[in-house]
Symmetry: C2
Subunit: 170 residues, 2 copies
């Protein structure tokens, strides 16, 4: 259940700092906010983080992994056209492929659209073939990435939070 919640400048600062480093100690957040905005105790930082979690704004924390360091150098986008009667089945088969890191049901040219991470062009070809061989998949169209310019899901965050309040939802 997502609760209504209006964020203020203090929440925004907390989220921004934790977004840069999820292990930032709350004591340090408290110190910095006390200096930059207004005096704030550690206990309050703690309570605020809890509320942001309860509101569904902070869903958790995770590592930023260097896939390059692990030998994965290739990213591609794959549009999939599938038999609409088989779409549920196709989706389940796609979920079995670990290289698919994003998968969306889409409107427009394709029914499904995904982003894959692969070791190299040959590995990518294997993954794309595997997608093409799924029963119900009619056609795929791939876009190979040559260079990553932006990859940061939370890039929007500082812009949203500059508005000093979140939307009201239920």
């Amino acid at each position: 259940m997502i609760l209504r919640y209006n964020t203020d400048e203090i929440d925004n600062t907390i989220v921004k700092k934790l977004n840069i480093n999820a292990r930032t100690p709350y004591t340090e957040i408290s110190k910095q906010i006390s200096k930059e905005i207004k005096p704030l105790s550690v206990g309050t930082v703690h309570v605020r983080v809890k509320k942001l979690e309860e509101a569904g704004i902070i869903k958790g924390s995770t590592l930023i992994i260097g896939y390059e360091s692990l030998g994965f150098h290739l990213i591609a986008f794959v549009g999939i056209l599938s038999d609409s009667r088989e779409s549920q089945l196709v989706k389940e088969e796609l979920k079995k492929i670990p290289n698919i890191v994003q998968l969306y049901i889409t409107s427009g040219k394709y029914n499904l659209f995904c982003r894959i991470i692969a070791r190299d062009p040959s590995d990518a070809r294997d993954v794309i073939s595997k997608i093409g061989e799924i029963k119900g998949v009619l056609r795929t169209e791939s876009t190979i990435c040559l260079e990553e310019s932006i990859n940061d899901e939370n890039r929007l965050l500082s812009n949203i939070l500059q508005q000093h309040q979140s939307n009201h939802l239920n």
Copy 2:
């Protein structure tokens, strides 16, 4: 500088646990590995995390943000065809749009390919118009997402790490 580094089962377990929750205490990781694999002190967990960071495998940690809770309900992929002589300029202009959370230079049908997060269809339309109005952009093609099935950059991780070693790089 990325160093050569071979991960073992212990590194893999550390990465997996931190990936699920970046704030997992090292003491707890140490306890769990001691139970599941072999006795391991907290100090060693600490040293191993540091090495994984130095090797570029752990690049940092971040929050998982609930964009739905913040009023952002729409994801779209946008393929961009641009005048190749202006591509550097187009890229710089695209970087100014905060809704673009992924941006790649690509080969194939498009020169550039991006993924955007927007509040709603009308907001998405504004973002896509803004992209289309950039000098040097010839054409865009959008794919609107109806449903998110997978969105987890680190989904690959458990599969890679099951192999119990990383690739050798420099």
